[in-house]
Every structure is written in C-alpha cells, then in structure tokens.
C-alpha cells in the first residue's frame, strides 16, 4: 500500500524558491494501478522522483507498506521517459541489472527471465544492445527489468509517449497482461487521456503549478475486456477531457 500525506516539494533556485507540488494526498492499494494526468510543468515528474527516492528533500510523508521511502530497503522499479536502459549492456544484462544491484544471485532469476522474455516477446533478442532495438522493444526490455525485480512499487514516467500509436496500443496490452500476472502496484504519469483510462484503476488529475490533486476518479472501465471499443470508453475520455480543460484553464 502506498500512502502520500501532505506532500509538498519546493525547488530552490538561485533567486527564489517555487513550489512544484503542494499538499498532495493520495492512497493506493497494493496491486493497484494509478494513472496521473497533468499539464506540462505541473510536477508530475517531481512526484515520481519523490516516490522513486530520487528527491529526498520534501515536506509531508510518503510511505510504502507503512515504511518511509528508502530505495535501498524497498524494491522500487522506475522507468524514465527514455526507458533508462544502459547502452553498454545487452538486453540480458540490462534486465538483470536490477537484481544485480539488489544483490540477488543471478541463478535464481533465470527461470523468471525466460518467462518474462516470453511474455514480452523479447525471445531471441537477449544479446542485442539497446541501440539495435526499436523504441517499442526498448520499452519491453525496461518493463522486463522492472517486473523481474517483483517491485513493491513500479513507477513509469510517460512510458509509452515516444511510441507510434499502433506500437503504443500493443505495448499497453502487453503491459496489462504482464501486470495481471505479477500484480505490481503501479503509478504511471501520462498526458494521454485514453492511456489513463485504459491503464489506470485510479485516475488522478493534477492541476497547474504548484501541482495539487484536483480530482481522483475510480475508473469503472479498468480491466474490462476490449474496452477501447466500448462506447463507455469514449464517453469517459470525453468527460475527462472536459474536466481537465476546465481544471487547467482556472
């Protein structure tokens, strides 16, 4: 379970300081997904960095399973916008990197890796380097690395935004399928309304700077079979868009 209480982050620049996030409150059950939508500069990425333990200078409390965030103690998977693969490591080494840093023996994960490679359609690419992969394939490698670790929390920063529309839908499906198998608590940041509705059990709308939570929606359509072709799906997306427009123009 993820609990965020009164989280505020201020950035200190040379002349003044400004608030990136102001008084964020959010709760996420274990094994849930949560999509955060917000305009550019609303502090979405800042929120993810706090949860990833990269930003440690904040007010309020952030807890994973009733423990304050400690990357060395918990298992946090973070997939940045550019997928965060190391170009000098091949697919296999990149996938094992998380486990290696966590000090897990390399033998124990071999079966899991084979399974993940299968699920993510990466079989046969183990010896390739990220530079030799397409964007979609790199994204799959990043997912494999994150899921191999069986993280307490998975964070994704605009994970599918650099992909073309067809690849994006395909990988969203792959993500959901793998996520169902592993039931990992996931928070993803996006600016695609459809993506939020498709992948978020909870949808959180952030408002413009300083970032505050303006709405939290329990998404009734999450996990519904073939939901992208349902009338309800379009309806909800339209409603959300309207809501967001009102919100951001304030």
């Amino acid at each position: 379970m993820i609990k965020i209480n009164n989280l505020s982050v201020t950035y200190q620049s040379l002349e003044d300081c400004y608030a990136a996030l102001d008084n964020i409150n959010l709760e996420l059950e274990a094994g849930e997904t949560c999509a955060i939508i917000g305009p550019s500069g609303c502090g979405k990425s800042t929120l993810l960095k706090v949860l990833a333990g990269i930003i440690t200078n904040f007010d309020g409390t952030v807890e994973i399973n009733d423990q304050p965030i400690r990357p060395s103690k918990q298992r946090i998977g973070f997939i940045p916008q550019n997928y965060g693969l190391l170009p000098w490591k091949n697919v296999d080494e990149n996938i094992r990197l998380g486990a290696k840093i966590k000090g897990l023996s390399s033998a124990s994960g071999t079966e899991d890796i084979a399974l993940l490679l299968e699920e993510l359609g990466l079989k046969g690419l183990e010896r390739r380097y990220p530079g030799e992969l397409s964007g979609g394939q790199q994204q799959r490698v990043a997912l494999a690395r994150a899921f191999l670790l069986k993280p307490d929390l998975l964070l994704m920063d605009e994970p599918f935004s650099a992909l073309d529309a067809m690849t994006r839908e395909e990988i969203q499906d792959v993500f959901l399928a793998v996520w169902r198998e592993h039931a990992v608590s996931t928070i993803l940041v996006t600016h695609h309304v459809e993506e939020a509705v498709y992948l978020g059990r909870k949808i959180v709308i952030l408002s413009v700077s300083p970032g505050t939570v303006s709405t939290i929606i329990d998404n009734p359509l999450f996990g519904v079979e073939d939901v992208r072709n349902h009338e309800d799906f379009f309806q909800l997306c339209r409603q959300l868009r309207k809501k967001i427009k009102e919100d951001w123009s304030k």
Partner: protein
C-alpha cells in the same frame, strides 16, 4: 570497418608514405634523403642487433607513463565528473597547469628526479594525464541525468554507479583522449631521450645523426613511426573490444 579492410588501410597508408619518400629522395638526390629501399634494407640488417633494444626502452617508457596517467587520471576524472565539489575544487588547478608546455618543466623534473627513467616516464605522464582527466570528467558530465534514475531508485550505492554507469560511459572519451595525447607524448619522449640515457629511440636517432649515419637515422625514424602505429592500433583494438555498443 572490418579487420580485413583495416589491414588493407594500413598497407595503403604505408604505400603512400613510401611513394612520397621515394619521390623526395629522387628529387633531392643527396645522402641526407636516402631512398626508402636502401633504408629498409639497412633496417632489416641492423634492427635486431642495434635498434630493437632502443625501441623496447622507448615503448616501455610510454607504457609506464600511460599506465601512471590512467591510474591517476581516470579515478580523478570520474570523481570530478560525478561529484560537483571535487570539480569545483580541482578544476581551477587543472586549468592553471594544463596549458603549461610540459617540455618547459623538463629541466625542473630532471633536477628533481634525476636524469634516469623516472624523469622520462614522468614527462609522458604529465602530458597524458591532463587530457585524460578532462576527457573523463566531461564524459561523465555528459551522461544524461535520467540514466542514473533507475539505479538510484534501486538503491544503488556509489560503487554501483561507478561500475555500471560512469566507467563504461566515459571509456570512449578516455580512449580518444589517449589517442590525442599519444602523438605529443611520443615527440616529447624523443626529446627527453636525447638527455642522460644511452637507450631509447631518441638517443639512437640523435646518435646516428651525430655520426652522420643517415641510413641508421632513417631506420630509427621508421622504427619510431612503427611504434606509433602499434600504439594507435592497440588503442583502436581496445576500443573495438570494449566500446562495441
């Protein structure tokens, strides 16, 4: 480039140099520029009995100097690139000392460390180490921040960051800096070897010149250039093996 075409490239380069040399010697037609054929003949006959030992000495000094420069330059460059405080403290020192022509320090180093091996190795070290420090530091600084995030969120320690990111990321820049510094290092080595030693290519070439033995002098120059070729192609080889990505 694959292995075969690299080899062909070297042969092509050697051919061009020899052709120019042949033309120059035919035009000048004086003993000061003997034809390459005569020099190569001389080289084959004197290489093992006379030149090889000098070549080994020079090669050994370069390798020792490079080794020292790597030993000190890489860790220093990595730390300066990664820790802002190291950079702030050390960059001014580097910038002040880097532009000093190291050859100007030769008398000082010879007084302090004597005329022996130490002074010569130190000169090479001084020439290469600055290039290595600055290149490795800038290599680390040019790593995008996002590269670190997944490792930070995994709770990676400083040792993990160095091993998984900093060292591999800065390796290509390091090898380039070594390549740039190598040519200068060889020229300065030549100069230092004209003092206080009876071994080294510098000594051999100057000695042949004093004895007005132009054939041996040119043989020495050819060996020096082959040493350079070996060093450069070794760096190329290391780059191909370690920076395949």
């Amino acid at each position: 480039m694959n292995e075969k075409s690299t080899g062909l490239g070297y042969i092509y380069g050697i051919f061009i140099v020899l052709a120019f040399w042949q033309v120059a010697s035919a035009l000048v037609n004086l003993p000061i520029i003997p034809s390459p054929g005569v020099v190569l003949e001389n080289l084959i006959s004197v290489f093992v009995p006379k030149i090889a030992i000098h070549g080994l000495y020079s090669l050994g000094r370069i390798v020792a100097g490079v080794f020292l420069a790597v030993l000190i330059g890489i860790p220093l460059g990595l730390c300066m690139g990664y820790f802002a405080r190291w950079d702030r403290a050390l960059s001014p020192v580097v910038y002040l000392t880097y532009p000093i022509p190291k050859i100007a320090l030769l008398p000082v180093i010879m007084l302090l460390f004597g005329l022996g091996e130490m002074a010569k190795v130190l000169m090479i070290f001084l020439i290469i180490v600055f290039q290595v420090i600055v290149a490795v530091r800038d290599g680390v600084k040019s790593i995008p921040k996002e590269t670190y995030y997944p490792l930070y969120s995994l709770g990676a320690g400083v040792a993990d960051i160095f091993r998984e990111i900093l060292i591999p990321a800065s390796l290509p820049k390091f090898l380039t800096s070594l390549r740039v510094a190598m040519a200068t290092a060889i020229s300065v080595l030549f100069f230092t070897e004209t003092f206080g030693t009876q071994y080294g290519m510098g000594y051999f070439i100057m000695d042949a010149w004093m004895r007005v033995n132009y054939l041996e002098m040119y043989s020495g120059i050819v060996v020096l250039s082959i040493i350079g070729l070996i060093l450069f192609s070794t760096i190329d080889y290391i780059e191909k093996k370690t920076c395949y990505w």
